[in-house]
Symmetry: D2
Subunit: 424 residues, 4 copies
C-alpha cells in the first residue's frame, strides 16, 4: 500500500495551526532548538524485517491480518512507515527469512522508498527445513566441528547477501548456551565460538562491522555463551577492530545499569549498535519507551556524551535498530510508537545543559546534577520532534494519519487476513 499524493499534506494542514503554537512556544524557550531539529532530521532508526508481523510467545501467537508475505511487502511496509515519520529510513534483513531473489530489483524497490539496508542478521538459533546439522545444542559453540562449519558458512552467506544489497554490517546474535549445569564446558564453548567468529570475521569486507550481541538468558536457561557485555567485549577485543558489541535493551539481568555499560563500551571504542525495545521482566520486547522512558533518556545521555567525546556522528556512528515483538498491537503502529519514543529521548538528551552538568559533577553537587537531567527530561519536546518530521515531509502525527487512512484495513484487503509474516 502506498500513500496517496496529498494525504500527508492534507493531514498536516489540519494540524499545522496547533502545532505551530506549541513549536513557537518551545523554540523560544530553547535557544538550541534549530540545532536539535537538524540532528533529529538526520537520525534514522532501522526497522527489522521480522517485526512487521505479529510476534508471539511459546504459549501462542495471535496474528492480525495484512502481514507482509515476502521481502517486497516488508520493504513496502517500512517504506510506508518512513513516509509517515521520515525517521525509519533503513531496513534490517534476516536470513534465511529474507533471502532476496533479485538483488537489483530489491535494491531498486528500497531506493524508491528511500531506504538503506542496515545490518544483516544471521539465524543459527533455529533449524531450517533443508539444514543438514541441527542447532539444538548450539551453533558457533558446538562440540561438533561440522555444525560450527555449517553455522560459519551460513554467516558468510549472509555477508554475501549484504554486500549485494549495500549493507555494511553483520549482527551475530547467538542463542548458544546451555540449559543445565554440566551440559557445557564453558571455556570450550567460548573457544569454539571465538574460533568460529574468527572465520566469519575473516570473510568480512574491510568497510564492514561485525556486531556481537549479548543476552543474559533465553532460549537457553542456564548459561549463554555470549551472556553479558563483558563476554561480548572479550570476543570483540580478541577479534579485531571491525568487531563491536551490540546492546539490546532487553538482554540484561534484573536492575542492570545499562547506561553505564553503554558509556564504558564507548570509552573502549567498542560499542557498535543498539537494539531498542523495552521490558519489565526479561526480554519482553515491548514498545520502546513504554515501560522505562527515563532509562531510555539516560542511555541517550550517555550515547551523546560518549559519541561527542569521540567526535562520532550521531546518525552514522552507531547502528540504530528497533528489535521488538508485537504480540498485541498492530506491528506498524507499535513501530511508530517506538520511533517516536526514541526521537523524544534523543531530543531530551540533546537538551541537557552539558556544561552545567560537568560543573555539578566536578563539585559533587548531586542535587544539581539530578536537576539538570530532570529539567531536560521533563521538558515536552514533542513539538520539536514533530517539526523535524514536518520539515522532512513527514506527517505531524504519523499514528493519527495511519489510522485515518485505514492502513491496516487496506493491507488486509490487499494481502488477506490470514497471512503470517516470517519471524518469531
Amino acid at each position: 500500500m502506498k500513500l496517496r499524493e496529498n494525504e500527508i499534506n492534507d493531514h498536516n494542514n489540519l494540524l499545522k495551526g496547533s502545532h505551530k503554537v506549541r513549536f513557537d512556544f518551545l523554540s523560544k524557550l530553547i535557544p538550541e532548538s534549530e540545532s536539535i531539529i537538524s540532528k533529529l532530521i538526520n537520525f534514522q532508526i532501522a526497522i527489522p524485517s521480522w517485526a512487521l508481523g505479529s510476534g508471539g510467545t511459546r504459549f501462542g501467537r495471535f496474528p492480525g491480518g495484512g502481514e507482509p508475505r515476502n521481502l517486497e511487502e516488508k520493504i513496502e511496509d517500512v517504506g510506508l512507515l518512513h513516509k509517515l515519520n521520515c525517521s525509519s529510513g533503513a531496513i534490517s534483513l534476516h536470513i534465511p527469512w529474507d533471502v532476496p531473489k533479485d538483488y537489483r530489483a530489491i535494491k531498486n524497490l528500497a531506493a524508491e522508498y528511500g531506504l538503506r539496508f542496515d545490518a544483516m542478521n544471521s539465524n543459527t538459533f533455529q533449524d531450517q527445513e533443508e539444514q543438514v546439522e541441527s542447532y539444538k545444542f548450539g551453533s558457533l559453540q558446538h562440540v561438533n566441528k561440522a555444525v560450527r562449519k555449517q553455522a560459519i558458512e551460513h554467516n558468510i552467506e549472509v555477508i554475501k547477501h549484504g554486500i549485494e544489497l549495500g549493507s555494511k554490517s553483520l549482527t551475530v546474535w547467538l542463542a548458544d548456551g546451555s540449559c543445565f549445569p554440566g551440559q557445557l564446558n564453558f571455556r570450550k564453548a567460548f573457544q569454539n565460538t571465538l574460533e568460529s567468529l574468527r572465520e566469519i570475521y575473516a570473510a568480512l569486507p574491510d568497510d564492514w562491522k561485525m556486531f556481537v550481541e549479548y543476552k543474559a538468558y533465553e532460549p537457553n536457561f542456564y548459561s549463554t555463551t555470549v551472556g553479558d557485555w563483558g563476554q561480548s567485549l572479550l570476543f570483540t577485543s580478541k577479534l579485531g577492530p571491525k568487531a563491536y558489541t551490540l546492546v539490546d535493551l532487553g538482554h540484561h539481568l534484573p536492575n542492570a545499569n545499562i547506561e553505564q555499560i553503554v558509556s564504558l563500551l564507548l570509552m573502549e571504542g567498542k560499542l557498535g549498535g543498539f537494539h531498542f525495545n523495552d521490558s519489565k521482566y526479561g526480554d519482553d520486547d515491548l514498545t520502546t519507551g513504554s515501560i522505562k522512558p527515563y532509562q531510555l533518556f539516560l542511555i541517550f545521555n550517555e550515547l551523546i556524551d560518549g559519541m561527542d567525546e569521540r567526535n562520532m556522528n550521531h546518525a552514522s556512528g552507531l547502528g540504530w535498530m528497533i528489535d521488538a515483538s508485537h504480540n498485541l498491537k498492530d506491528p506498524l503502529e507499535d513501530i511508530l510508537q517506538s520511533v517516536e519514543a526514541i526521537m523524544i529521548a534523543y531530543a531530551q538528551a540533546l537538551l541537557i545543559d552539558r556544561a552545567a552538568l560537568k560543573e555539578a559533577q566536578l563539585s559533587n553537587d548531586v542535587t544539581s546534577a539530578q536537576e539538570i537531567l530532570q529539567n531536560a527530561f521533563r521538558t515536552d519536546v514533542r513539538a520539536l520532534v514533530a517539526e523535524a518530521r514536518f520539515r522532512s515531509g513527514g506527517a505531524l502525527s504519523p499514528l493519527k494519519l495511519f489510522r485515518e487512512i485505514g492502513v491496516r484495513n487496506q493491507l488486509i484487503k490487499e494481502r488477506g487476513s490470514k497471512t503470517i509474516a516470517t519471524g518469531l
Copy 2:
C-alpha cells in the same frame, strides 16, 4: 512400547548387591527408615500429558523422535515411566489437546497401567481452529462478555471430561493480563475474572477441587491478572471452600521465598497443589531439582510440617504434578530425573529431626536450626528412594534401565522420528 516381562527383574538382579550395601548402611543410620520408605511408596507424582514431547521457546523447537501422537500413546508413555519408577501413577490431561474419544477405553487403558487421572487442565491462552472468540486480550478477564462466556463454557466442558475419567480437580491457569500500562483496568479485570471463575466453580462437583494457579509474568509482560499468591488467595477465598491456590515453582519474581508462601497457604487451608520444575531466571521449566535442590528440600520441609499440623495425608492431601518443558533432553528421561529429585527432597525432608528443630526455634538457636536442616539435606538418601521403588516392583535405577533397553529408539521405530506431540 511395553517392558518385557523380566526386564525390571533382570536389571534389579544386577544392581541388587551394591544397592543392598548402601541400603543396609543407611537403614542402620536412620531409625525411621521403614516409615520413610512406606511414605515414599505412597507418594505419586502426576505427569502432564503435554510434557511427553519436546518443548520449545518462542525462538524454536528441536523435536526428538518417537513423541506420542495421541492420548493413548501419552498414557502408554506415562505407564512406562510408572512401571520403571512406581512413582508416576497419575496423568494430568489438557483440553483440547487430550479430548478422549471413548472414555471407557481410555479409562481401561489407564487402569491397565495403574494410572489415575489427576487434575484436568483447561486452555484459554491459545486460539483453537474452530474457536469463535479470540483470547488475544484475555479470556476470563475479557472486557467482552461473549469471550468470557466461551472461556467459561470451555472450562465447564473440561470438568465434564474429567468427571467421565474420574478426575477430581480442575486446574485453571490463566495467561490473562496485559502487555502495556493502560491496556487494562486492573480492578475490572479482577472482577470479570472473579465472576467468570464463579460460574465455573458453580459447575464443579461437590467432591472436586478448583486450583487457581498464579504466575508473575509471561506470556503477558506488564501485568498478570492472577499474578501472585496474594491475588490467587483473594480469588480462592472469595470463591469458596472448593477453591485452592496452586503453586508452580517457576511462577515467581526473582528471589521470592516460595517455602514461606507454601507455609502460609497451608496455614490458611488454601494450598491446593504443586507444579514441580526448576528455574534460574523466569519460568524456565527446567528439570525439578536441577538448579536449586536446597530450595526444593526447604519447600518439602514446609509441606510436611504444614500438612502434618493439619493431619493431611501426604500422598492425597495436595495435588502433586510435574510441569516442565523438555527442550533439550529426552522428555521421558527428563521426567525420570524430576521424579527422582522430588522423591529425594521428600525423603530428606522426612529425615528432619522436628522435635530438635522446634526446640532450636523456641530458643532462637539459629546455628542449630541450620545444622538440623543441613544434616537432613546432606544425607545421601538415594538408597531409601531406590528401596521404596524396589519394593513396589520398580527398577533400582529407572534411568539406567530406560537407556539399556533403548526405549527412545523403540519409540522412534514405533511412531516415527518426525512425530510432534501436542504441547508448547
Copy 3:
C-alpha cells in the same frame, strides 16, 4: 532558621515573568488546569522526622552539618520546607527518637508552622539503651511472650503520644523475620504477630487507622514476616476495619508491578497509605522520582482511578509520606526534589483523559491506551505545580530559593557542623 519576611516574595517577583509565560501557555492547552491546580494545592505530603539528617548504610555514614538536634528543630526544618513549597504540611514522628517532653509546646510549635502530625511510627527493630528484652530475633513475632509484650506496650505508648499530638494513625513496620532456613516456624511467627497486632489494634482509638507495612527483605535476609502485600492484607483483613496496608515503593522484589498492587488494595478497601522513595536495586531509599518517574506516574494513575471510584478525597483519603534516606545530598534539598516529583506525577495523572482511556480499554485498543497515558506523562506540567505553590504563598522555585538564601550554611551556623540527627 526562619525565612525573612519578603524572601519568598522577592524570589517570586524575579521569576514571575517567565513563569507566567509558561503557565499561560499550559493553561490554554489544558482546559481542566484550574481544577488540577486546586487539587495540587490541597495535596500535602508528610515529612518523616528521621529523614531530616544524613542517612547511611551499614558501611558508613557521611553526615553533613546543621542537622536538627531535637524534635523542635525537626519541626522547624519541616516548617521551612512547607513554607517554601506549601506541600509539606505534616510531620511524621518516630518513637523513641521523637518523644515529646511537652505536648502543648510541641503542638503550638507545629501549628505556628502550619504543620499537622501525620502517622506515628514505632520502632521495634532496634534495641534501646534502657530496654529489657532484645529484638534481635524479632518483636511482635518473637517466640518469647515477654518480648512480644514489650513490643506491644511500646506500640501502645506510641499511640498515646500520637493522641496527645492529634495524630490519627500508627504505622507498624516490622523488621521481624529470619536470616536462615529453619530459624523460624513461619506459621507460628505469623500467629504470634497477628496476636500482638490484635492487642495493639485494641488500643487504637476509634478514629485511628493502623498501617501494616510490608517489606520483602532487609534487615532480615531469608524471610520477613510481613513480607509482601498478600501477607499484609492477610493481617489487616483479620484485624478489622481500622487496619490498612501501607505501600513503600522500595519494599518489593525485583520487577514487581506496584501499580497493580495499589489498584487491588484500593479495590479491597484496604490501602492505607504510601511511603514515597525510589530505588534501582532494593530498598535504596533514593529521592522519589529519581530513577523510575514513569512508574510513579502509573501509580498515581491507579491511585486517582481507584480513589475516585470509591469517592475518596485525594488529599485525606490515604496517608502520604516520604520515606527516604539522604546519604549524599543535603536532606532538605532532597526532600524538596521528592515533593516536586510527587506533585508532577500527581498533576500528570490528573491530566489523563479517563473517558478516552476507558473507551480504549473497552475496545482493547492497546495502542491508544498507551498513547493516552504517554500523552499525559509527556506533558510538561511544572508550571501547573509552580502555580499551585505560588497561589498558596510558596516559592516558584523552592530549591533555587533554598540555595540563594544559604539555608544549609545558616543551619550549620546555628546548630554546628557535627550534629547528627536521630535516624538511620
Copy 4:
C-alpha cells in the same frame, strides 16, 4: 581462650567409633578417597578479622558478648577455629581496624597458632577520625585529586603493613560509585580509578598480587565503578600481570551465573580469589552454603576444572576467604559452618567423574551430564571432610566441641559482654 591439652582428643575418642563406620563405608565406595582427603587437608580458608564480631545492618546491630577487642584477640579467635577444624590457617587483616603495633610480636603470635597472613584489605569506604579528605563521593574515582591521593597513600600503607607481616596480596574493594543519574561521569570515574590503581600497583612488590573486587551495588545505589566482572577485568587487564579479579559470591545482580564468570576468569588467567558467603537477595553476607549449596558446588566444579587445566595448585593458586556478616549467630559458630560447607562443596566437586562428564559433553548427552554432577553432589561426603580434619589433629565435630567446652561463655568471661569488635 585456648583449648586445653586433651580436649580435642577426648572429643574425638567419643565420636571416633561412629565416624569410622561412616568413613569406612564411604572410602569403600570412593576409590579416590585418599587423594581427596589429602587435598582437603591442604585446603585452607582465610578468616577475615572483621567477621569475628557481630555484624549489623543500617537498621541496627545486636552484639553478642566476648568479641575480640584488638588484633591479638582476633588472632586468638582464628587460632581457636583453626585448632578445631584445621582448615582456617590464615587471617585476613583490614586497615585501619587492624594496624599492628609490633609486627614481630604479631607475627610470632600468629605463628604460634599456625596462621598465615592472607590478603590485606584497605578501607576507603568510610571516613576515619583523623582523615583530611572525605570519601563521601568516592575515593580512587574522586573528582578531586587530593582525595584520590589520600586513598592511594592509604593503600600503599596497607601494602607496607602486609610486607611486614608476610602477606602477599592486597584486596581493593571500592564502594566508589554514585547514587543518582548525573552524579558521575562514568568514563571519568573509570579513568580516575584506573590511574589511582596504577599508582598502587606500582607500589606492589614483585611477588604480590592485587585483587580488584567488583560489586553490583551497595553502598552506592545507582552505579558502582567496579560494578561487575567485566569492569574488574578491564581494570586488571590494563593494570598488568599482578592484577587479578576477585569474586565475592554476594556481589552480583539477581540470577547471575557465577560459575560461568569463574570459568571465564580462569580461562583468561585473571581470577585472583574468592570471598565466600551466601545470599538470597543482595549482598546478604549469610553463612556460606546456607541458601544455595548447589551453586557453591557448581562453582567448585568450575574452579577445579579450570585450575587443573592451568596446573594451578588448589590450595595456593587462588586466594580463599570467607567474607560474611554474622548478624544473628555466634560469629565463630557461623564461621565453622561456613568452612564446613566449603569443604563439603570442594570434596563433592573433587568426586565428579570428569572423564565421564567430558564424554557426556562431547556427545551432548545433557541427561548424563546432569546425572554425573548430581551423583557427586548427592553423595554424603561429610565423613571424608571429618577424616581430613581428624588426620590433621582437628575435631571430628568442631561445632559440637565448640559448644561442649563453652567457648562463648569463656570469651565473655575473659573479655566482657559489652565488647564490640571493629567491623561493620
